[in-house]
C-alpha cells in the first residue's frame, strides 16, 4: 500500500487528504474524507450512483482516480444545499416523491444539477437523455423527470 497526499477543493472547501495511490475518487470521498453521500452502485461506470461534478463536468467518480482530483474542484451531493437550505432541485425531489429506497438519489441530484447548470431549461427529452447514465430500480423515472423539470421552472 502506497499513500499520497492530495490537495483538492471539495464542496468549496480547500483540503488535503491522504489516499492510497490506487484509490478511486469514489473510495477517497467515502473512506478517506468521510463524505458518504456519494454512493457505490456498480463500480464500473454504468449506474451513475457515484456522480460528482469535477472541474465543471459531470463524471462517474468510480472511474476517476483519486490522484486525478489533485488540484481539482469537486462537488458532491453534500455540496448542493446552501446556507439558505435545500436548492430547488432537492425540494422538488421531495415534493414529487422522486425517490423510494434512495440509493440512486445523490447521483440523480448531482447529475441533474449539472444538467441545469449547462441547460437551465431542458426539454423532457433532453432531461431524459442527460440522465440516461443514472439508473433507478424503484421509481420508474417519471417522478424524477417531473422533479427535474419543475426545478428548472423554479
Amino acid at each position: 500500500m502506497a499513500n499520497q497526499i492530495i490537495s483538492a477543493t471539495i464542496n468549496d472547501e480547500p483540503m488535503e487528504f491522504l489516499a492510497d495511490t490506487r484509490d478511486s475518487l469514489l473510495e477517497a470521498l467515502r473512506e478517506r474524507i468521510g463524505l458518504t453521500g456519494t454512493k457505490e452502485g456498480c463500480n464500473d461506470g454504468n449506474c451513475g450512483a457515484c456522480s460528482v461534478i469535477m472541474d465543471g463536468r459531470l463524471v462517474n467518480s468510480c472511474l476517476v482516480m483519486a490522484a486525478e482530483a489533485d488540484g481539482a474542484e469537486v462537488t458532491t451531493v453534500e455540496g448542493l444545499a446552501t446556507e439558505d437550505g435545500l436548492i430547488p432541485l432537492q425540494q422538488t425531489f421531495l415534493e414529487e416523491a422522486a425517490l423510494q429506497c434512495g440509493i440512486c438519489t445523490p447521483g440523480f441530484l448531482v447529475a441533474s444539477k449539472a444538467l441545469l447548470d449547462a441547460n437551465p431549461n431542458p426539454t423532457e427529452f433532453e432531461a431524459r437523455y442527460w440522465l440516461a447514465g443514472n439508473l433507478c430500480r424503484c421509481t420508474g423515472y417519471d417522478k424524477i423527470i417531473r422533479a427535474v423539470l419543475r426545478a428548472a421552472e423554479a
Binding site: 490506487r22 463500480n43 461506470g45 462517474n60 468510480c62 472511474l63 482516480m65 426539454t123
Partner: protein
Amino acid sequence: MGKGKRLQALTVERPATIQEAVQLLNDGGDTAKVLAGGTDVIVIARSRRRTIDLLVDVKHIPELTAIEWDPGSGLTIGAAAPCYELYGNADINANYPAIIDSASLIGGTGIQGRASFGGNLCNSSPSGDTIPTQIVLEATANIVGPGGERSVPVEDFCTGPGRNVLEQGEFLVSLHFPAPEAGGGARFLRFIPRNEMDIAVCNAASAVKLDGDTVRWARVSLGAVAPVPLLVQEAADALVGNPLNDDTIAAAAEASRNAASPIDDMRGSIRQRKHLSAVLTTRTLEQAGARARGENVPSVGGH
C-alpha cells in the same frame, strides 16, 4: 463487475510534457498504461484482467487536450479531449457533425465528461463508436515515441481486438481531420437495443463528397462486424462517379453486407449483424447525402 472491488496496486503519474510521458511509458514497459478518461482503463485495472502497475495521466500535457480548428488545414483534437468538450465546441458542430454523432452516443453524460476519441481508438475495440467516424473523415493518428513522431491513417491503426500499431513507449498525441470540402457530408449511426448506454451490435459511418448529384468521393466504415473496424472500399466503389440514389445506395449496402464477417455473441447473431451492416450503410449514406446538400440532420440528444 467491479462492485466493492479495489484496483490492483498501482501508481498514477502526471507528466507535464510529451517527452516526460514517453520516458515514463518506455521505462514502464508492458505494465504501464496511458490514462486518458479512464472509462476503459480503470475498469480493466479493477477487473485485474491484465497487470497494470502504472497509469500515466496525459491530461496535463497541453497538446493532449487542445482542440484546434483552421478552415484551411482542418481540425486537430488532443487524444485525451473528452466527448463533452467536443460536442460543446462550436467549430466542430459547424464543420464535423459526424464527430458530434459519435461524441454524444458514448455512454451517458458522466462517461462523456471523460471518454476521449483517442482512448476509444487506442482501446481498439471492434465496436468502438468513434472509430468508423474517424475513418470516414480521413483522420490520421499522430503518434510520438522514443523514436520520434509518426502519423498513421486511422483505418490502419487497429490490428485486432484490443490491439493496435502502438509500439513500446509510444502513445497517441492527437487526431487530425482534414478540412471539410464543399459538397461534403458525413453521418455515424449505431444499432443497440435501447437508445443509449450499450455496446454496438453494429455501427457504421459514411461520408460523401458530391458534385451536383454525382458522388465524387465516398467512404463507408463498419464496426462490430470484424476483428477491427472496416473501411469498405467496395461500398465506395459502388458510389463514386454515380448519382447518390436508391440504386447506388443499395449497391453500396450490398457491398457492406458482403464485407462484414461478424461473430455470433450475446449481443447479436451473424445474420443480424450482416443485415444491420446493410441497413446502417443505407441510412448513413442517405443522411450523409442530406448533410452534403446542406440539410440539417441532428445528432441524437439535446446537443
